[in-house]
Amino acid sequence: MLGGYMGKVLDVNLSNGEMKAYALPERLLDLYVGNKGLGSRLLYELTPPGVDPLGSDNVLIITTAPLTGTGAPSSNRFNVTTKSPLTGAIVNSNCGGNFGVYLKKAGYDALIIRGKAARPSRLVIEEDRVEIMDAADLWGLDTHQAQEKLPAKTGKIVIGPAGENLVKYAAIVSGNRVAGRAGVGTVMGSKNLKAVTAAGNLKPQPAQEGLFKETCRKWRELSRSHPATGEQLPRFGTAAFVNICNATHTLPTRNFQSGQFEQAEAVSGETLAEKYLTGNEGCLGCPIACGRQVMLDGMKIKGPEYETVGLLGPNLAIGELEPIIEWNYLADLYGLDTISLGGVLGFVMEAGEKGLLKTDLAFGKTANITKAIEDIAYRRGFGDEMAEGTRFLAQKYGGMEFAMQSKGLELASYEPRGAVGHGLGYAVANRGGCHIAAGYCIYLEANGPITVDPLTVQGKPGLVILNQSTLEAISTLGCCIFTTYMMLPRKLLELNARSRFVSRMLRFGFQKGGNLIGRALALPAWTLPIKPPFISFPQAEAHAHCTGRRFTMGQMIELGKRALNMDRLYNVREGFSAKDDTLPARLTEELQRSEEPRSRVPLAQMLPRYYRMRGWSADGIPTEKTLRRLQIEQNNLL
């Protein structure tokens, strides 16, 4: 067996109580490794085409990776994969809660949950015991109360009232961390599953322990000494992006009507740190500890992330942190995705302003938002419709051109008319409007230290491919995607800041060469046997020493491409194609700023090239040749 794995998957059917534990075939692990990649492949094999996301045939899959629980920094994440009830597409949601580590302690690399329990249930997983138990005493509790009632020293996942009530963007909560997007909690709720706990004393064993430990030590050192992961993220959290996004016109404001908010400073990471921060909170074993702990009304609670601040703040024209902290807390208690929540509220405010629907919500007014969140979670009154998401509301009341979603998933907190490559990413992302599945091109366009022209289409398809493939690979290895920030070495950042020549070269290289990079990434893995100079890649090295297999940069990129194409293949089977790779007309047709003629996303100009470079047809479908190259087989591997 490869190092790092526990060697078993647990497969539970809640409809009939059947449980099986079995080994995953080596070829499956070789090709799809863990977390995101493995989750995608398993979903493809385990669900029939056209499965009802909330029906008993949909499957909820939780995967870990070889690095999970080994002591590798920032790598204790688990992944949830299912078919989304919000989008009808595949969803992978990544979470830094402790469940993955404990699932491995109990002896399993992955958990497959099928069927639907007849009554509210919880699943208990221990080394030598797996049991479906009654959860009548937990049903109705919020995510904190429910976790408190569960046994200590276990890894936990739970849903809140939003998941129970099948709000289409309900989340799964583990400790204080959330697998938020596209309704993974809704699927758990549809299975009548309130909670899962895992416990045990087993430990994954890295194959080359000495080398592995040494790599992790260097990784930790690098993470601590890098200005982004060692200083900015721990001190200011992810909300440090508020001010720079505001400066670069990429902070969604008033339902993405503009990219700048006049009160951005008041809701920034700096203000959060100065006025509310009481301490940092990290995912298990993470030296970065980017999570916030804040004080509100004498209570120490979790502080909001950038996405939440952006979408419940500027996007609703709210310029105070206190209510945002409270709404974030409430959303976590109810088990709601804050990104979709902010998108829905923003849409309702604008639709109300335009007279398309009647609402007591309005931009810039905190009044009634708390009640709206509660109404959504419990599907009361108009909350019942808001619980269906933005696309549903636009279909019913009109306003599709300003329904800020793609494939039905509300856009994350970046206004892409200030970074057009990021806009392309949103449109092609298999999950829908998610910044991570989009590739986070904005870091090379606007809010990172090394940037290209944010408004040109030049090089953008290639850069989106580079970023997407890297993030997919990092997620598949089980590492936090924030570990990619330290891959740009400190020295290079200094050179970029101080030397115009270096900065120009980098800009020229990324912009003019972006598409060349994209094309180069289409080459087979063996063409990149060693890592390129300057780039630090401890994640890949640690994975190699953990599993005991050579793992080159080329293999890593290929892994990312395979995972992404697997998602695409799933979606194609569900009827998705180029017709779904869209953005709301506000972003493609309306100028963000009248004085800047390029401030819209010229999506149609970028899409054909993106498809070609991905090896997809003009209809956005992977060709036979591409699938063959990536060894994506149609036959089941399981």
């Binding site: 440090a240 870091y443 800041a497």
Partner: protein
């Protein structure tokens, strides 16, 4: 006059989020900031991102970027998040 805004770890004095300057070029404004906040700031300036009215400037000759009254220079350290 132009406004120089400081963010994240470049805000060494939390009370001073920005200052106004009579600098004629970006380079001059950066030198003024370095004088104002001392060596610790200067060290951080080494890898700072310098925006003028929201546009990145690392690839431009900062000695030659002439400032207009009302311009905003924003200084950020390399950020992370998402």
């Amino acid at each position: 006059m132009v406004t120089v805004k400081l963010y994240a770890s470049l805000r060494l004095n939390p009370e001073e989020k920005e200052f106004t300057s009579a600098a004629a070029t970006v380079e001059e404004a950066l030198e003024e900031a370095a004088r104002r906040y001392g060596p610790a700031f200067k060290e951080r300036l080494k890898h700072a991102t310098v925006l003028v009215n929201g546009r990145h400037t690392a690839h431009l000759n900062r000695k030659k970027i002439r400032l207009q009254p009302g311009d905003t220079i924003s200084l950020f350290p390399p950020l992370a998040g998402g």
